[in-house]
Amino acid sequence: MRLTSSLGRKYVMALSGVLLLGFVVAHLAGNLLVFAGPEALNAYAKKLRLLGPGLWAARLGLLGLAAVHVVTSIQLAIENRRARPQPYAVVRHSASTLAGRTMVLSGLLVLAYLVYHLAHFTWQTAHPAVAHLTDSSGRHDVYRMVVLSFQQPAIVLAYVLGVGLVGLHLSHGIGSSCQTLGVTNERVVEAVRRAGRLIAWALFLGYAAIPAAVLLGVVA
């Protein structure tokens, strides 16, 4: 198998996509600690920061995966455009979905959101007023940063749009990666597509639950 062929690069897309999906799931699991209260979330954040080299290895790994995923996707998308230089006058779709046809767009918007998201919570440059607080045990107060952030409607809007785009991307991506990796067959292919959409919705709702809870005052 050559990784530079069309099929090879599809494998690269699917594998990097699935590994990034792994991060999206793990990250949600960590974030949901906000429902367990300030102690749990701040202790978890501190533990992550104490990983030191491990944290950097994970960050570099994710950066590498994202770079491979984005560069390959753009290359494939350019080739796909070139394969049909003249579009049809009448375009009708029967099997494809909007999510599937807008993977490059949703991907690039996710990328843009990601930069803002890192500036917000990781580099803490986007909203410095809420970022540099410490809790009673002298730890970085991640909990208050989250709560104070999500009391601002503009931040909530950007966040929900961002995770919504991730959900849209994954609603095609999860089922698609199963087909690319060859784990589907006639019996399951439709079920895999539906399961992918379901998981994407679940991830979106999981992430969106956090600002919703803050706005509703459940988390304060």
């Binding site: 198998m1 050559r2 062929s5 069309s6 099929l7 090879g8 690069r9 599809k10 494998y11 494939l76 080739e79 796909n80 070139r82 394969a83 049909r84 230089p85 003249q86 579009p87 049809y88 006058a89 009448v90 375009v91 009708r92 779709h93 029967s94 099997a95 494809s96 979905t97 599937g100 046809r101 993977m103 095609h172 089922g175 698609s176 087909q179 690319t180 990796l181 060859g182 784990v183 589907t184 067959n185 006639e186 292919v189």
Partner: protein
């Protein structure tokens, strides 16, 4: 019934084309779509207009010639039929029907609705065959073929190479065509011998021709006049990565 046709007219590969409108008056709903074009062409000839060029041969859904995009759908709106098996009763009286050629860089337009599909032939030449000598037919029970393998091979062998998969794919990818050949040959004992080199060479040939890359939209499966399933694509994806496989898996 009356129909308005908006048809792509293009004199040759290098000349620019455009749409022309033709009226088909008082045609029988029992005409096939190709017969409709025949009727329209007879009218054009009497008016001294060059008839619409389109490919056709068997007119019974087995040769794969009758390539055309009808209202944005390859082989028209009926599932699992080629244009030659599509009838006017599937259209509404007074409807406007837009007819375009397959659009893909590897399928250059020769004239009107006729495209050059020899890219498919070159993919077949790259590995879509079995070259081992199998001798005489063996005793029927000496080489058992699991039912799963026989089923997929037979389903995939229904491919008539019409190119609808490419035409319908938003990326103009030839995955379903190539996968059908890989599955048809690779799941039977005779074809197994060359399975690895076949999938490698056919994928290379597909890439050389400039087809797009599959993004699993599955438009191809809906467009295929033989309803070939995208399970063949999953099989090719497996075959490309793990060319060794046990029969029946």
């Amino acid at each position: 019934m009356n129909l308005s046709l908006v048809v792509w007219r293009q004199k040759g590969a290098q000349t620019p084309g455009r749409f022309e409108r033709y009226e088909a008056k008082d045609v029988s709903p029992d005409l096939s779509f190709l017969e409709l074009l025949d009727v329209v062409n007879e009218g054009l000839i009497t008016q001294g207009i060059e008839p619409i060029a389109f490919d056709h041969d068997c007119r019974e859904g087995i040769c794969g010639s009758c390539a055309m995009m009808i209202n944005g759908l390859a082989h028209g709106p009926q599932p699992a039929v080629a244009t030659c098996q599509l009838y006017l009763r599937h259209f509404k009286d007074g409807e406007t029907i837009t007819i375009e050629p397959w659009r893909a860089k590897p399928f250059p337009i020769l004239r009107d609705l006729v495209v050059d599909r020899s890219a498919f032939d070159r993919i077949i030449q790259a590995g879509g065959y079995v070259s081992v000598n199998t001798g005489e037919a063996p005793e029927a029970n000496s080489i058992p073929v699991p039912k799963k393998d026989a089923d997929m091979a037979m389903d995939a062998a229904a491919c008539i190479g019409c190119g609808a998969c490419v035409a319908a794919c938003p990326n103009a990818s030839a995955m379903l065509f190539v996968a059908a050949k890989v599955a048809h040959l690779g799941r039977l004992p005779q074809g197994r011998v060359e399975a690895k080199q076949r999938v490698d060479q056919m994928v290379d040939a597909m890439d050389r021709e400039g087809f797009g890359n599959c993004t699993n939209h599955y438009e191809c499966m809906d467009a295929c006049p033989k309803a070939i399933h995208v399970k063949a694509i999953a099989f090719m994806n497996r075959e490309y990565r793990f060319p060794r496989r046990k029969p029946g898996t």
